[in-house]
C-alpha cells in the first residue's frame, strides 16, 4: 500500500470509533423513529407496520398540538432573552475581573454537579406554599396566605433560566475573552465614553458568542420536558411533554415518533437559519 493511500485512510481509521458510536446510538435509532412515525397504532394495542400518514396529519393539523408548539417556542424565546440579559453582564464581569477568573467560572459551573431534576425540584422548596419565600413573607406579616408562585408559566421560565444561564455565560465569556482590551482603551482615547466604546466595539465583537449562547439556550429550552413537568401547571405543557405523554402514558409510539420528529425539524430549521446568519457574519468579518 502506498504511503499516500495509507495517509488518506488514517483520518477515517481515527474517526471510526466516534462514527460508529454516532451511527449506532444516534442515526440508527433516529431511523427507527422515522419508520415508526409511519406506522399505525391499532385499537388492540399492537402497532401496524406500513406507510400511513395519519400520525403526521394529526401532528400537523391538530390545533392543540400547534398551540403547544407555539407556546413552547414562546417560552424558549423568553428564556433565551432573559438568559442574554442576565448572562451578558455576568460574563462581562468575569471576563474583565482582575481576580481569579477560574474560581468565578467554577462557581458558575457548580450547579452542574447536582442533578438537573434535583435543581428543578429545589424551586418547590423556595416557591411552594410552605416554601422559604412564602413562610418568610408570612412570618414578616407581609401576606396572610401563601402566594401561588408555582405551577405556572413564570415558574417554568424561572426554572429554565436557572438551568440554561451557565450556557449563555460561558459562550459570552469565551467571546469576550477573545477581544483585545486595548480596543476599548483605543476607543476611549479617541473620545468615546466607556459606555459608547462598549456599544461600538465590545458588544459587536461579542455578538457571535451571544448568538451561540442564544441558540444553545433556545434549543435546550424548547426541548425540555422536566421543567414544565415539575414546575408547570396543567396548561403549561411544552412540546416534549406531548411526546412523553404519547409514548409513556398512551403507549402510542407511532404518534410520539411523529411528534418528536416534528419538534426536531422545527429546531433544525432554526439552527439552519442561525448557521446561515452566522456564516454570513463570519464572512463579513473576514472579507469586509
Amino acid at each position: 500500500m502506498s504511503i499516500e493511500r495509507r495517509e488518506a485512510r488514517q483520518p477515517w481509521i481515527l474517526l471510526s470509533p466516534a462514527l460508529g458510536a454516532v451511527g449506532l446510538l444516534l442515526i440508527v435509532p433516529l431511523l427507527f423513529i422515522v419508520v415508526y412515525s409511519f406506522w399505525l397504532r391499532s385499537a388492540t394495542g399492537g402497532d401496524t407496520a406500513g406507510f400511513h400518514l395519519d400520525n403526521w396529519i394529526k401532528a400537523l393539523t391538530d390545533p392543540f398540538y400547534r398551540y403547544i408548539l407555539l407556546n413552547t417556542l414562546k417560552i424558549a424565546a423568553i428564556t433565551t432573552v432573559l438568559c442574554a440579559l442576565l448572562g451578558y453582564p455576568a460574563a462581562y464581569f468575569i471576563a474583565r475581573s482582575k481576580g481569579n477568573k477560574m474560581i468565578l467560572l467554577l462557581l458558575m459551573m457548580l450547579p452542574f454537579w447536582i442533578s438537573y431534576i434535583i435543581r428543578t425540584m429545589s424551586w418547590i422548596n423556595i416557591l411552594g406554599a410552605s416554601g422559604a419565600l412564602n413562610s418568610g413573607l408570612m412570618a414578616l406579616g407581609v401576606i396572610n396566605e401563601p402566594l401561588q408562585m408555582l405551577y405556572n408559566e413564570a415558574a417554568v421560565i424561572l426554572g429554565l433560566v436557572h438551568f440554561l444561564l451557565p450556557f449563555m455565560v460561558l459562550n459570552v465569556y469565551v467571546s469576550l475573552e477573545g477581544i483585545d482590551t486595548n480596543l476599548e482603551d483605543a476607543a476611549t482615547s479617541l473620545g468615546a465614553t466607556r459606555w459608547q466604546s462598549f456599544l461600538q466595539v465590545t458588544l459587536p465583537l461579542s455578538l457571535p458568542g451571544l448568538a451561540a449562547g442564544g441558540l444553545l439556550c433556545f434549543v435546550l429550552g424548547a426541548g425540555t420536558y422536566i421543567t414544565p413537568l415539575v414546575l408547570g401547571g396543567p396548561r403549561d405543557a411544552m412540546f416534549a411533554n406531548l411526546v412523553f405523554e404519547a409514548i409513556i402514558t398512551q403507549l402510542n409510539w407511532p404518534l410520539g415518533s411523529a411528534l418528536s420528529l416534528l419538534l426536531l425539524m422545527v429546531l433544525g430549521v432554526l439552527v439552519a437559519i442561525y448557521n446561515r446568519y452566522l456564516g454570513m457574519a463570519q464572512l463579513a468579518k473576514g472579507l469586509g
Binding site: 482603551d185 476607543a187 482615547s189 479617541l190 473620545g191 465614553t193 466604546s197 465583537l205 468579518k285
Partner: protein, 359 residues
C-alpha cells in the same frame, strides 16, 4: 511652555512601586522617548499620561491643565498601541474616522480629514478594506492615522514598532519621525530599543526600576551617560575603575592601573564632583584597533591582545585583553578583521572618554 509635565508622580500596584517620584517636562512639539528595559515603568508612565492608569501620587498636566481627574475620553490624546488595536469589525476608513464621531465635525469635513490622514500615511487606496486584510506595517500606519486624525494635544506611542520585522521597523522609524515633525505634535514614545530612541528622539528619558536615570538629547545621553546603567544600556561600553590623580582648570586626569592615564575635559564628567574614586567610560566603538607597530602622538596608544572576534559583516566586535582588563571594541572592518591571538595597538582619544563617580 511645557505641553506635558509630570510632578512627583508615584504609581504603586499593591506593595510594588512601579514609578517612584518621577518629574518630567516635555516641551511642546517635541518627540520624547521613555527608554528602558522591560519593567522599568516606562509603559506605566505612558498609561498614566493617557489616563488608562491613575497615579498614586503627583500631578500630570497637559498644556497647563491638571488632567489627573479628567477621564481619558476628554483628554484629546492619540494613542498608538503596540498591537495596533484596530477595530476588526470596521473598515480602515471607519477606523480612522472613529474619533471624529465624538467631535463636533460635520460628515463631509470628517470624510475629508479621514482621507487626509490616509494620505499622510500613504494608504488612501485601502480605505474600504478591513484590518485583517492588511499587513503589519499597513496596520501600524492606519493606527497612526487614526491617532493623529483627531488632532490630539499629545501623541502617545507604546512600542509601536516592536511588532514589525527588522527592515520594516527601520523604514517605519523614519516615516513616523517625518510625520511627527510635519504635524508638530508633542509625542511621547516608549521603547526598549536604544537605536530607535537615539534615531528618533529630541529628548531621551532613560528609566530604570521606576526612576529617571537621565534626561537629555540623544548625543548627550549617549556620549555623557549620567550613570553606569545608562552607559551599559545604550550600546556596548567599557567601564573601568579609575582614580582622579589631578585636577587642573578644565582638565581632569584619571589613572586606570594596568591600562592608561587619561586626561579628559571636565565637561565629560559632570557628576563626578570632588570625588577621587571614579569610573572611566569608553564606548566600544571609540577603541580603534591598529596594527601592533602603529604610533600616534595625538592619541593614547595601548598594547592589547585580541581574545575573540564576533564577525558582523561590515563591523566586528572584538574581545580584548589589556593586562587584567577585559575590553570590548566595535570597529568597521577595513579589509580583513583581526584574528584571535593578534597583538594590536588600541588608539583612544581622551575626548571620547567620560567619567562617572565610582559608586
Amino acid at each position: 511652555m511645557a505641553a506635558v509635565t509630570l510632578g512627583n508622580i508615584v504609581k504603586r500596584f499593591g506593595s510594588f512601586t512601579a514609578v517612584q517620584k518621577m518629574s518630567l517636562d516635555i516641551p511642546e512639539g517635541s518627540f520624547c522617548t521613555l527608554l528602558g528595559p522591560s519593567g522599568c515603568g516606562k509603559t506605566t508612565t505612558l498609561r498614566m499620561v493617557a489616563g488608562l492608569l491613575d497615579p498614586t501620587e503627583g500631578d500630570i498636566t497637559i498644556n497647563g491643565r491638571r488632567v489627573n481627574d479628567i477621564p481619558i475620553h476628554q483628554r484629546n490624546l492619540g494613542i498608538v498601541f503596540q498591537n495596533y488595536a484596530l477595530f476588526p469589525h470596521r473598515t480602515v476608513a471607519q477606523n480612522v474616522g472613529f474619533g471624529l464621531k465624538y467631535r463636533p465635525i460635520d460628515k463631509a469635513e470628517a470624510q475629508r480629514r479621514v482621507m487626509q490622514a490616509l494620505e499622510l500615511v500613504q494608504l488612501p487606496h485601502l480605505a474600504d478594506r478591513y484590518p485583517s486584510a492588511l499587513s503589519g506595517g499597513q496596520q501600524q500606519r492606519i493606527a497612526l492615522a487614526r491617532a493623529v486624525v483627531v488632532e490630539p494635544d499629545v501623541l502617545l506611542l507604546d512600542e509601536p514598532l516592536s511588532a514589525l520585522d527588522a527592515n520594516l521597523r527601520e523604514d517605519m522609524r523614519v516615516e513616523l519621525k517625518n510625520i511627527q515633525k510635519r504635524l508638530g505634535v508633542t509625542s511621547i514614545f516608549v521603547t526598549h530599543d536604544q537605536s530607535e530612541a537615539l534615531a528618533m528622539s529630541d529628548q531621551i528619558i532613560v528609566m530604570s526600576e521606576g526612576r529617571v536615570e537621565q534626561v537629555g538629547p540623544p548625543e548627550e545621553v549617549y556620549n555623557t551617560p549620567a550613570s553606569e546603567f545608562v552607559a551599559r544600556f545604550l550600546g556596548a561600553a567599557n567601564i573601568l575603575e579609575a582614580r582622579v590623580t589631578d585636577r587642573q582648570g578644565d582638565a581632569l586626569a584619571l589613572d586606570v592601573p594596568g591600562f592608561a592615564r587619561v586626561v579628559i575635559p571636565r565637561s565629560r564628567a559632570p557628576k563626578l564632583g570632588d570625588a577621587s574614586a571614579a569610573k572611566l567610560v569608553i564606548r566600544a566603538e571609540k577603541l580603534k584597533l591598529m596594527p601592533a607597530d602603529s604610533t600616534d602622538d595625538a592619541a593614547i596608544m595601548i598594547q592589547a591582545t585580541v581574545e575573540g572576534v564576533d564577525y558582523q559583516g561590515q563591523a566586528a566586535r572584538y574581545f580584548l585583553r589589556v593586562n587584567d582588563h577585559a575590553l570590548q571594541a566595535i570597529n568597521m572592518i577595513d579589509i580583513a578583521p583581526f584574528a584571535p591571538g593578534d597583538s594590536v595597538m588600541l588608539r583612544l582619544l581622551p575626548r571620547d572618554c567620560a567619567a562617572l563617580p565610582a559608586s
